[in-house]
């Protein structure tokens, strides 16, 4: 097939982390040929899952383990997994809150398919998460919590600690609650309060087992709880008691270490997707030379963007917690009209509510950033669980013909670059842009090699300051819909600018003059101009970077947070000698110009999505390629194994001389996700 486009082929693992617009490198998930454990008690990788009651502080514990590992130099990826209820009934399975973290001495992208270590603070946590633990994995249980009441609440008929059902695991029984009480007794902490520190005991124990430095945690306890000496003391003593328990108790056994990863040199930090996204908005405001105004209404999992941006007023960032989702986008649009970078952040239900104002923004052609942190739906759905099923609403969820650009972030740290790219498009083309992220990216964290802020691009555009036309009487006039011939963007004339007073609105505008027009031909012309403006953005996108083998038979097409699992799965299959290609889209609307030609090169195109195949349907319609959807709607990201299985299915189909592919293949996962 003739290839009119330059295809950039990455045979990886290349150091794309060195470029600011990449959140992370395309990387390998496991060291080629390396066993997970070598003789010197060095682990190459480790997946720990801390699980307990919502009130047990598991998110904090996981976060601390992550921070310490990050500053120790490991590569890592995290997966906080918590219930929608703030304090679900204690001891029940649906109240279990977990934090999974994958650390390694090499580059990784996923939080790991299966934990090697499960910390279960109570029977409910064991019930909920045992199935995830690898066979023969290490299970650390707080045996104090395994009383009759808790066992019953978790749904155990017999005590799993005594009935032999855990025999295939390495079980470490620890009376965490009582040991924590003992350790803190001398401080005069009430037993009930002391119990609260047991998560630090668990953290101390795991820190010893996997040779984590302890000073950073002790310092952190000091900073965090310093004002309350009793709480700080209890947490410190519990942490040290857990650490010492590891050292002195034979049952804990051997100590392992995960050495620092050989990441590209530079200065690193660790961020979640939502923090990176908020920072990206701050940066985009600076790079566009526009003050940022955020209108937002609290909604999981997007609220952290409102929280984070509210902290950075010294950048001139204005935030309003609006009365509702509609007001939030209305304020952002008003700010955009007034010359600010207008932003609104929400999740799927909020995108639905904002739909009418988004259409107005399409119609009046003002820049606007709409952030959608996707979650399980429809309706309230699974508010704390991830899904990526808002591509359709982003693409089509407006009345009439109202196309707009869509940018999708693919990793927590890529959220920073994706925000800047979305704003670049919004201000250059005077259009609302939807930026898609999801719950997995929002709350997950990974190390980020910090970009040199001086190398970030200037994305500013000039405001209109002078007349741009002449009317029939030869008078100088301002035409608010006189387009830039290259971008088709209209002038952005902000209030306060002399002579350029003009009115915009939702009624159809006459081409060029912007006056109200009910003329039928004008309307069709304007519909087409608005669509052409968005379509033209495709000329402004970099060539697609294809990872893997250009001569492969199978190409994986991904978008969004599936990146991590696809990266790991593709690299594994390629290391085994299979030829596989992979294209991951950041721009979903308009699609890159070269996408069709690239996809048509391959016999099989596999599209893994956390939805019913939304992108798959779009590329089938757009390019007439026989793409196959691989779908998952479990509130969880893909595992690497699921992606590998999907690739295998495609490879098998090619091998058996292109047997008919099924259009939808549900859950290729091996075992449970």
């Amino acid at each position: 097939m003739p290839n009119r486009h330059r295809v950039v082929v990455i045979t990886g693992p290349e150091r794309y982390g060195c470029r600011w617009e990449r959140g992370r490198t395309y990387m390998t998930d496991t060291q080629p040929g390396a066993p997970d454990i070598d003789e010197a008690s060095l682990l190459h990788r480790l997946v720990v899952r801390f699980a307990g009651d919502s009130g047990d502080g598991m998110q904090l514990t996981g976060d601390r383990f992550t921070s310490v590992s990050a500053s120790y130099g490991n590569d890592l990826s995290t997966f906080p997994d918590y219930p929608a209820e703030i304090r679900a009934p204690a001891g029940t399975v649906h109240g279990v809150s977990a934090f999974q973290v994958h650390i390694s001495d090499h580059e990784i992208t996923t939080p790991g398919d299966q934990p090697n270590v499960l910390v279960a603070m109570n029977p409910a946590a064991l019930m909920a998460d045992l199935g995830r633990l690898e066979r023969g994995g290490t299970l650390i249980v707080n045996e104090d919590a395994f009383d009759e009441r808790n066992l019953q609440k978790a749904g155990y008929a017999t005590d799993p600690l005594g009935d032999g059902s855990l025999d295939t695991y390495r079980v470490i029984h620890v009376p965490m609650t009582s040991l924590t009480k003992e350790a803190t007794a001398s401080l005069g902490v009430k037993p009930r309060d002391a119990e609260r520190s047991k998560n630090f005991f668990a953290l101390g124990l795991v820190s010893w087992m996997y040779t984590r430095p302890i000073d950073p945690t002790l310092e952190w306890i000091e900073t965090k709880f310093g004002t309350n000496e009793l709480v700080a003391g209890a947490n410190r003593e519990a942490f040290l008691a857990g650490y010492n328990f590891g050292e002195t108790t034979e049952a804990v056994g051997h100590r392992y270490e995960v050495r620092p990863a050989q990441l590209p040199g530079g200065e690193y930090t660790s961020v979640t997707g939502n923090t990176a996204l908020a920072w990206g908005i701050v940066a985009a405001g600076q790079l566009a030379k526009l003050p940022v105004t955020l209108g937002s209404y609290p909604i999981t999992p997007a609220s952290d963007i409102l929280h984070e941006l509210s902290k950075h007023k010294q950048f001139g960032v204005r935030t309003v917690q609006a009365e509702d989702e509609i007001a939030a986008i209305g304020m952002a649009l008003g700010a955009a009209f007034a010359g600010h970078l207008g932003v609104t952040a929400t999740s799927g239900p909020g995108v639905a509510l904002k739909s009418e104002t988004t259409s107005l923004a399409v119609s009046v052609e003002l820049p606007l950033l709409i952030v959608d942190i996707q979650r399980g739906g429809p309706s309230t759905g699974l508010p704390t669980k991830t899904e990526a099923a808002d591509l359709n609403i982003a693409m089509y969820g407006r009345h009439s013909e109202a196309p707009l650009p869509i940018v999708a972030a693919y990793s927590p740290t890529h959220c920073f670059a994706a925000a800047i790219e979305a704003v670049r498009i919004a201000v250059k083309y005077r259009t609302p842009v939807i930026l898609l992220s999801d719950g997995f990216l929002a709350n997950g964290s990974e190390p980020w090699r910090l970009p040199d802020v001086d190398t970030l691009p200037d994305i500013s555009v000039p405001f209109a300051t002078a007349y741009n036309g002449t009317d029939s009487d030869g008078e100088d006039v301002f035409y608010p819909f006189q387009r830039d011939p290259e971008t088709l963007a209209r002038p952005w004339a902000i209030p306060g600018t002399r002579d350029l007073m003009h009115r915009i609105g939702g009624l159809e505008k006459a081409d060029v003059t912007g006056n109200i027009s009910y003329d039928s031909e004008n309307h069709e012309r304007m519909v087409k101009l608005r669509a052409a403006k968005v379509a033209r953005i495709a000329d402004d996108l970099p060539p697609i970077e294809l990872v893997g083998d250009l001569d492969a038979d199978v190409c994986v097409l991904g978008w969004g947070s599936t990146w991590a699992a696809i990266d790991a799965g593709v690299q594994r299959r390629r290391r085994e000698g299979h030829k596989v290609a992979w294209v991951h889209l950041t721009h979903l609307s308009p699609l890159p110009n070269d996408l069709g030609d690239i996809l048509r090169r391959f016999e099989r195109v596999v599209v893994p999505e956390l939805n019913m195949g939304q992108l798959c349907r779009i590329v089938r319609a757009e390019y007439l390629v026989d793409a196959t959807a691989v779908t998952k709607m479990q509130g969880l990201p893909f595992t690497t194994a699921e992606i590998e299985a999907a690739i295998d299915t495609a490879l098998d189909a090619v091998a058996s001389n292109g047997g008919t592919p099924t259009t939808t293949t549900d859950n290729h996962g091996q075992g449970r996700p």
């Binding site: 990050a70 990441l263 509609i326 007001a327 107005l360 209030p495 306060g496 003009h502 009115r503």
Partner: protein, 343 residues
């Protein structure tokens, strides 16, 4: 950009070149004229003025003003105007809305703009009907009103717009009507000069779908007996010989009384600047139909923190405390570590 100097303009500087397309005889014409005539007197510049509207007959207003303007979405004008106002406290932002736009589909935005006290001048054209959609009852239509959507008469109790505004903690609340240009201009001027959200209800005649709704009170020959003019600091009296007045009964209820009967000292002295809104509320509800004496003028005008300037003050404080925004420092605010290159 914004000019602090007094701007010399004339009425024609404020009229756009667009043909005005309300029905002939519509009350909106009078309101437009009052605003266009007032603007030069305010000493502000057209380029620093923004009119934002929603949807409805009244919401066409921005098209006829030679200022910046947005004819937005049904009900959303207060939200969009809030965005303009907080981004640019240097601008004069006006909101033009109607009884359906502001009190039905956009009720939530209206009350929250008032609560926040955003520096907006909000003109609500109340004609007690949906005009643009050709004659359905509105949230201010009286019970029993027969319209296309209520052939058997409306059973929805109406909103009193002033009660709503006062209940939403509005700091400036006034009422005027479309037949008295001088009163409109005075009221709009006071609303414009108020720092914070100023809410003005304008009785507006829709001569096509609800003609004469307010005639009993606003017709010139009825005004003396039906319009109760509120003047701050003055006893609330009306009538050709100012023979009637408003007084507070022993039960706390406001009543219309004959001055001669109760004595001058029993007549309530209007205090628009009272912090407690109860009397303003009672005045707003003195008449519950359009056929009995009805107060006009400024019901309430109190000073409280304006929203956009409060936001600006927080930004200034943050800059003072933390210095100007430093992106490199922001990215390092979670703590960092160094990896030495192995390549």
């Amino acid at each position: 950009m914004s000019d602090t100097a007094v701007n010399v303009t004339s009425k024609k500087d404020w009229a756009s070149d667009q043909e005005v397309r309300w029905c002939p005889g519509c009350g909106d014409y009078g309101i437009l004229l009052a605003v266009q005539q007032l603007m030069p007197e305010l000493g502000v510049a057209p380029e620093n003025t923004v009119f934002i509207s929603g949807i409805g007959c009244s919401s066409r207003f921005p098209y006829y003003m030679n200022t910046y303007g947005v004819h937005s979405i049904h009900g959303r004008a207060p939200a969009i105007a809030t965005g303009v106002a907080i981004a640019r406290p240097d601008l004069d932002v006006w909101v033009v809305t109607g009884d359906g736009d502001g009190l039905s589909i956009g009720g939530n935005h209206l009350i929250h703009a008032l609560r926040r006290n955003v520096d907006l001048t909000i003109l609500l054209f109340n004609n007690r009907i949906y005009g643009l959609t050709k004659g359905q009852y509105s949230p201010t239509s009286e019970i029993g009103k027969v319209t296309k959507s209520t052939p058997a008469g409306s059973i929805d109790p109406p909103f009193n717009p002033l009660s709503v505004a006062l209940g939403a903690e509005a700091s400036f609340v006034a009422r005027t009507h479309d037949l008295d240009r001088k009163h409109m201009m005075e009221t709009f001027r006071a609303a414009h000069d108020h720092r914070g959200a100023a809410f003005v209800e304008i009785f507006q005649n829709c001569n096509v779908f609800n003609d004469g709704q307010f005639t009993d009170i606003v017709r010139r020959q009825n005004r003396d007996e039906m319009l109760i003019e509120l003047v701050h600091g003055e006893p609330i009296r009306f009538g050709a010989d100012r023979q009637r007045g408003v007084s507070v009964g022993a039960d706390g209820q406001l009543r219309i009384v004959d001055v001669a009967e109760v004595g001058e000292e029993a007549i309530l002295v209007h205090d628009a600047e009272r912090n407690d809104p109860s009397l303003a509320f009672a005045l707003a509800r003195l008449s519950n139909d359009d056929h009995s004496p009805t107060p006009f003028g400024i019901f309430r005008r109190v000073q409280r923190q304006e929203y956009a300037s409060a936001i600006a003050a927080q930004l200034a404080q943050a800059s003072e405390r933390k210095g100007p925004g430093d992106l490199a420092a922001l990215l390092r605010s979670n703590g960092t570590w160094n990896v030495t290159s192995t390549n």
